[in-house]
Subunit: 433 residues, 2 copies
């Protein structure tokens, strides 16, 4: 709380008191959860002026032809829908993070242009004709593959979420950042196309003492991580497409490792080498980083799986409530252990919980979209969501997390998020306990 | 064949004889279909030079930071992966079509920047704050909705393909265009988010004699189509997002109608009005256009459903075979009647058929990706694919289509496509019968 480095950036909509413990009492008024009752209850839509139908050009717009953009771009009216960074968070632009604007999205696919990015040595600019993937170490025959070689292996297509282990990491000591883009935007979800790593390892032939893999990137950081061989053989992909097209440069073009359900840092980008070994490498990113310092001075490490988590994206600080009456609450839930089974939502800080509607496909280790219709009377709300996955794991409160892991952590904060909706519809990041 | 208007554009890879009837004999040599046997059979991958491991900067690239592109773009090495048009096809740029580069994609999601577009009066440039949707005609209470109003209705998320009725239309009289981007690229597939049209119609209240809907766009063409009320109530969406973000301008930003499984022209873009009536409107686009002229001078109309279809995207004229030995054949199948049940592939012009692998999710009225591993000996191939949907419908040959509908048609050509692979790996569009 007194750590100056954690000073958050301020957004226009933010109020004064966003700290932990705020609203610890029962300040919250009534809010009705509505299963039925559509727009009519709010009488928003207007009846048309009969004269409007006489006007041939009513609501009519001129436009441009098809040659305007062979690779299409969003409408100029959507110019505010972009990834954003937090300047104080990292020492340089090359080693920084750009967050997905979750509050502007719907469904569960993240469009490629808005997928969050995090680099340890900038975005490598790789010529795919020059790029190679080496398999070496405890193999019968070390091999070097071109991109063409890799594309001649059988492929698979999967929707997977990718979440940085540090997502929500700035919130360990209390509510800091005002907007789900910043508190939860280190996650994206696309359809990946790639070759099962198993097939590539089998091509090289694994020696009997093979137990670990080291994945290494072609960026200037040479980012590397140890991965148990078992995971590599189970479901990892060497991916070259996202949402149908080639990987974007900031997502590892032309080749990245996909490690379903596990922390994003292991999904090594610009993948140039996989070494097979018999023990972990203890690389920088799995010792000094991506471990969690506990109260007693010891560190958790090899905490790879991203546990069940959820966030209400609308309303949220960047997406205030605009209308009284009928509204749709919307959010995302995910689990590195499988499918989301249920999401509960409360509007009164946990006194009453209602099951949200999981809408669209509910896939394993993929973002899941949930909705909840509700009536807003204009009274303040304390909104939370709680995800439960198919293993029965229940998303914990932040206090429950702190009770186990203390306050020194950065990574793996999957605690329940609270948004405070004021009577004017503005929303802020708070904590209640 | 003698119609000058059908003169096709020529691509560099194209050969001389691409017309119907070509290769009518048995010119095709051997090609082995391979279920197992991976890359090793082709011995493509190289063994690493031990010295390479001593070089710290082996395969290493410097890069830029995260602020380079808040809305991300593809790699400069992918600059050739764009939509393309066919200049002679339409009279103006405002009324033209831009084709999806299917041969460059994988999985079943089309990235938003590459979704094919077709306009009848250019791309309307709509300010979402000014845009309105009117519901009028045989309703209890005509209504006008703002975009905000619409977003307060319950939403759904669905992956659907959108195919223009004219897709492959230039091929009715024989093989014309060289590349699946041109022969089959009037199709795309994204995750749509929208409000069931049923909810919006119910808000206005349907009169008892309501039987038809007329959907009308806010473009300068005022594009409109009649749709049976039954379909509108069953599964149509008033959509505002594609692949998570706002619709792209050329896809109807900020609002389009989604008519699952039915021809793309009915998916009215820049949707400004839905009128409820008791009979069809017989608008321009359902009388002089989007009907099929039969041999006897009568026209088929109201042929809304897009029947089962498939195409091999790799290899294809824009994506030649580069290597002998092991290769992965890849393609797309879809049906407006439901799920794809099976795709058969032949490499020898129909003598032998093998079932392809449907990979990834197989969803109703969504593109389905299929693969087939095969060994290429260097002999010529005649590649075809044949889709079968869950209703048992089997994709017909082009000759079977012509036997029923003659040669005057443009729309609804779902005939089996043939690619001729030459001994040098080049591929051309041909017909065999």
């Amino acid at each position: 709380m007194t750590d100056k480095r954690l000073s958050p950036p301020r957004l226009p909509a933010e109020g004064e008191a966003t700290r932990r413990g705020f609203l610890k009492g029962g300040l919250i008024g009534s809010a009705a959860l509505a299963g039925g009752g559509l727009l009519s209850s709010a009488a928003r839509a207007a009846e048309p002026d009969p004269a409007i139908m006489e006007k041939k050009d009513w609501n009519q717009f001129l436009g441009v032809g098809v040659d305007a953009a062979p690779y299409g771009q969003p409408s100029p009216y959507e110019a505010h829908v972009v990834r954003r960074d937090v300047e104080w968070l990292t020492a340089s632009r090359e080693s920084s993070v750009n967050f997905t604007p979750l509050h502007e999205l719907d469904g569960f696919v993240t469009p490629n242009g808005l997928c969050f990015e995090r680099h340890h040595g900038g975005v490598a600019e790789v010529d795919p004709a020059e790029h190679r993937l080496m398999i070496n170490g405890l193999v019968d025959k070390p091999l070097v593959f071109t991109m063409d070689d890799i594309k001649r292996f059988p492929r698979q297509n999967h929707f997977y979420f990718l979440e940085c282990a540090a997502n929500s990491g700035m919130e360990w000591r209390g509510a800091q950042l005002n907007g789900c883009q910043y508190t939860h935007g280190m996650v994206h979800c696309v359809q990946y196309t790639g070759v099962p790593l198993k097939l590539i390892l089998e091509e090289a032939g694994l020696k009997t003492n093979a137990k670990w893999l080291m994945a290494e990137g072609a960026d200037s950081a040479g980012m590397n991580r140890s991965i148990p061989l078992e995971k590599g053989l189970e479901d990892c992909l060497v991916a070259f497409k996202m949402n149908g097209e080639a990987l974007r440069p900031e997502q590892g073009y032309p080749l990245r490792l996909v490690v379903p359900g596990w922390e994003g840092n292991m999904w090594v980008k610009w993948l140039r080498r996989i070494e097979v070994g018999d023990m972990p490498w203890h690389a920088r990113e799995e010792t000094s980083k991506y471990t969690d310092l506990m109260e007693d001075g010891r560190a958790r490490r090899f905490t790879w799986i991203m546990d069940a988590k959820s966030v209400v994206t609308n309303p949220s600080p960047q997406a205030p409530l605009l209308h009284k009456g009928h509204n749709i609450l919307s959010g995302l839930a995910w689990s590195g252990r499988g499918r989301i089974k249920r999401v509960d939502v409360t509007l009164d800080g946990g006194k009453n919980w209602v099951e949200a509607d999981l809408q669209g496909h509910v896939l394993s280790r993929c973002l899941t979209r949930f909705y909840l219709p509700f009536q807003w009377t204009g009274d303040p709300l304390l909104i939370q969501s709680r995800a439960i996955d198919e293993t029965g794991y229940v998303q914990p409160t932040k206090d429950e997390l702190r009770a186990v892991r203390g306050e020194n952590s950065i990574y793996h904060n999957n605690g329940i998020q609270t948004w405070h909706v004021r009577d004017n519809g503005e929303v802020e990041n708070v904590e209640i306990s």
